[in-house]
């Protein structure tokens, strides 16, 4: 069944989009990631214009993270105060990101920027995760040592300190603000929630306890991607509601199936699978940049004046 997308102005197979939504939903349910980093490149591959893919994917992430954060709120694993600080940074970053996106779109370099961001970040995250989970599997028989004492690094010597009770932290608001801005920019440019950057930053940089990290990250992502959606809708007119609804339906069902599968698998196995998937997407995108394309020319709208 073909569906004509009103904003993307292309005709796509509805079942293909539902299926993609479902598969990415399963993966995101299994691994506890938003799935934006997989969905956006997949949308490029099936011929959705990058600008529409990025903006629409932001809209879809609002739905999946809202669904996720409700579960975390019930379990009281959301640090609302920390989330708000990250959010302030995130909104600033998203506003900057959307402006940058619009400028680069006019210059014809938006594809390059989006692809480069993907290659660099997927490469780093995938690589680190792969090494880390290999080590974890090797050490799986050995019992973990006593938990390390929290280190006092430069993060703890900055001014404007604030108490974050849920996370049990007393730190300066500057690092969370910076993390927020950075993730906000990425969210706007890459069409992702930024959870895959945010979660490691919260654990390693801010020293937050692992149990509140995912919930807090999701809480912040809802607002940042929501804001990104609005900004893209008003600046670039690139949010395709028909595409978003198809992705949502597939994604929501897939996520619930994925969660069941995830429960039955070991954490290390899950992580190494995720790492391999991230690296595969990264390599595919990198090859597109490195190999000579079959068509050297590309067409763009006449906005170059």
């Amino acid at each position: 069944m073909q569906i004509y997308l009103p904003i993307a102005e292309v005709s796509v197979n509805a079942f293909l989009i539902l299926g993609l939504g479902g598969i990415v939903g399963i993966l995101s349910g299994m691994f506890g990631v938003g799935g934006g980093f997989l969905m956006t490149p997949l949308l490029f591959f099936i011929g959705i214009p990058p600008a529409v893919a990025v903006a629409t994917e932001a809209n879809q992430i609002v739905a999946s993270s809202f669904s996720g954060v409700l579960a975390h709120l019930r379990r009281k694993t959301v640090d609302l105060k920390m989330g708000t600080v990250l959010l302030v940074g995130g909104l600033v970053g998203a506003a900057l990101g959307v402006q940058l996106f619009a400028i680069l779109r006019a210059m014809g370099q938006v594809d390059l920027l989006v692809r480069l961001c993907y290659v660099v970040f997927l490469g780093i995250i995938g690589g680190l995760m792969f090494i880390e989970s290999l080590n974890a599997i090797r050490k799986t028989r050995r019992s973990a040592g006593a938990p390390k004492r929290k280190k006092h690094n430069w993060v703890h010597n900055l001014p404007i300190k604030m108490k974050f009770r849920t996370s049990g932290l007393y730190i300066s608001v500057i690092p969370p603000l910076i993390v927020g801005v950075f993730v906000g920019i990425l969210a706007a440019i890459m069409g992702v929630g930024g959870g895959f950057i945010m979660v490691p930053a919260m654990i390693y940089l801010l020293g937050m306890p692992t149990k509140v990290v995912v919930g807090t990250s999701l809480f912040q992502i809802i607002f940042v991607t929501g804001f990104t959606t609005l900004m893209h809708a008003t600046t670039n007119y690139t949010v395709d509601m028909a595409l978003a609804v198809l992705l949502l339906i597939g994604g929501v069902v897939g996520a619930q199936i994925g969660t069941r599968i995830g429960v039955k698998m070991k954490a290390e196995q899950l992580r190494i699978l995720l790492a391999m998937m991230v690296l595969a997407v990264c390599i595919k995108l990198a090859l597109d940049l490195l190999l000579q394309p079959t068509e050297l020319f590309s067409l763009g709208g006449g906005g170059g004046h």
Partner: protein, 252 residues
Amino acid sequence: MLRLAALLLALALPVQAEEVVAGLSQNQVSITANFDGSEILIFGAVKREAPIPDEGGPLQVVITVAGPSQPVTVRRKEKRYGIWINTEAVEVDLAPSFYAIATSGPFSEVLTDVEDLRHHVSIPRAIRSVGAPMTVQDAASFSEALIRIRQRADLYQINEGTVEVSEETLFGTSVALPANLTEGDYTTRIFLTRDGRIVDEHETVIYVQKVGLERFLFNLAHERPLIYGILSLAIAIAAGWMASAVFRYLRG
């Protein structure tokens, strides 16, 4: 002497010896949510006061359908710092979003180059490019690329010999509009030619429009972007909440 004879012959003939009377199977194409391309039949007859002229080649028909013209930026990739990036760009001032030519014979036989130049019939002539910036070399390859890319997407078509002409009077053809159409007015031109020269020309318009939900969403997105954005978010949040509620109910 020969020229004088030709002039006298031209004066002796009525101004328009042969006229097109044409019709379309539909002059309105609606892009609905499940739009999957459309086929338009273009048919007609030749009206004449005098019998079919003896001299000159057989009557030929050239039909063009052109979508709305827009400026297009054509960019070329080059290898810089080890990766392929867009470098040079050429602005094509006006290029139709869709262009189909159907003829009753080989293009070079049914229309002379002079007539093509005057009426912008062939694909390269239908594209208007005032000129590339001085820094760009081989600017022609950019408009060639535009044609190549759009031909591959079936947006530019040249279908030689697909117009059927019977008894030099009736003609008909069908033009396939692809699924990825943009909306606007599609100008349809019908040329009657003899010996490559245009005898008569007829122009009509096919209106291609998004309708229903497509129309509503597109208008909302462009005229009320803030409301559109808020509506998108509301749908997303409602879907997220519903998914959570439904699956909690299923588990509980």
